[in-house]
Amino acid sequence: MNGLRGLLAEFAAGDEVLAAARAARLAGYVALEVYSPCPVEGVAEVLAFRTRLPRVTFVAGLLGGAAIFLFQVWVHAIEWHLNIGGRRALAAPAFIVPTFEITILSAALLTAFAMLWRNGLPRLHHPLFAVPAFARASQDRFFLFIGAGDPRFHAGHVRAFLESLAPLEVHDVPR
């Protein structure tokens, strides 16, 4: 099975691929992936996948905000104190605006970068793109993928199993 990365079953609707993923999960396959042109509700639960991205947003916002606040304190109270009519150097309320803005900016940028990084993007080439039918994964077809890395993977058995789910077609994914 060295020439095979996995098998890909093609479906016409989101509900069908969801049912197929559930069946594959029940059959004991673990190296599963679903490819779809839009999010399919419930698929992430079937694949037992959870993202921790919100933590990135929270921590990035917190650190960015703290950094710019302390930076302003340093600039105005320590590094370059200007005496303007005796006003206090550490004017915390006036520091709120940049603090707020940098909180939002760092949270947004790091969330976006973390999303791309965890998704392994950018990666312009991928073995899946070698399957001609996969071009419709971004348009109107839904795919269930069982990888050759699965401990229970056997090309003949997996193909028979996928055929039993009544897909439109089953494709080989070359390595």
Binding site: C38, V97, A108
Partner: protein, 451 residues
Amino acid sequence: MPYPTDETRWIDGDHDIASINDAIADTVQSPQHRRAWLRALAVAAVGLGALAVAVFGVFWWYIGVWGVDVPVMWGIAITNFVWWVGIAHAGTLISAILLLANQAWRRSINRFAEAMTLFAVACAAMFPLLHLGRPEFFYWLFPYPNTYGYWPQFLSPLAWDFFAVATYGTVSLVFWYIGLVPDLGTMRDRSTGLRARVYGVFALGWRGSARHWERHQTAYLMLAGLATTLVVSVHTIVSFDFAVAQLPGWHTTVFPPYFVAGAIFSGFAMVLTFLIPVRAWLGLKDFVTIRHLDHCAKLMLTAGLVVAYGYLAELFFGWYSGDPHERSLIASHLHGRSAPLFWTIIALNVVLPQSLWWRRARRHIAWLFVLSIAINLGMWLERWLIVISSLEHGLLPTTGGAYFPTFWDWLTLAGTLGFFAFFMLLFIRYVPVIAMSELRELVAHRRPEAP
């Protein structure tokens, strides 16, 4: 996110997942009206050229070429700045707040409105930078270590503006692009040759796996939450430019909410001004239905009522303050030097929008279009009244003055209009104007009738 299945009512006609792709991708792949588009682009390019000349003029002769002088040191450049930032706000409201509120109808217009946000912020950002007096030193606003031992003054609204607008522009761009990536993947897979490569590079190798989508949707939701705070904060900070000053008509606590409402009001007006011709031009009436326009009109009316309240509050607090300078400014607005301007604004921004209480007016496309232009104009004049009439009035009769915009002022304004139109035209030609992946989600449960 779960949507009840009847949300498909936001799509007219008998569309399934494939026909949605075809209808929207065709606006890019086999566009109609190529000649008309080229002609429009040529006109917009003239505007872009005018902007280049106007910016060159300011760099060469400095802002003396604008009609600004003591006491009116902020001319229409600042009016334009406030106006353009305001226009940007509707895009963020549609894409962020309506996403959090689970409004399915936003899916047909969010991409378009976000693109408007991006270009409007770019137009807005030019004005304060050009207005610096020494625009070539704009980067001094950015805190970077330098040999002068100099840092920005963080207590100044100018520095606040820089942080607010820079954050707004960046977050809007990221939000827009992250939402666009799956659609760029679709365009990559539908195109061939060079186009496929270009779309492919921008699609970053998007494959639409369940894990991709889960992270993507989570990130999108996080970004929407962050952008929601920007909807209310950016124009708040713009209003601080005025509200922290002592000038009559500026030093008011109502300014932040009043500015935010004005921003959303004018933003929706600009959305309608562009959306009405574009939906007809690109043949997207199945996706941007009359009911979408109706909803935009309702939100515009709501924002307009808050703006009307802002006008009232401004008058009331001016009178209630007992301050003779504030009172004389109000007298000037009601029946003095600035009265013609003030009552024009009331007619355009308060009286005319009341027609939107009637369903027939909200669904009358020609009226909506005319009204949206009237509101754009009204909101620009309102910013004139705030910026210039207050400065002309001053605290004492001896500090009064008059301001007339020069040729260079108008050229800069016209130039930014050209800039905005130019990039909107490029956008509708090369990028799917509707988020295909989001519309597909609405019909994904439907199995196509025939294979």
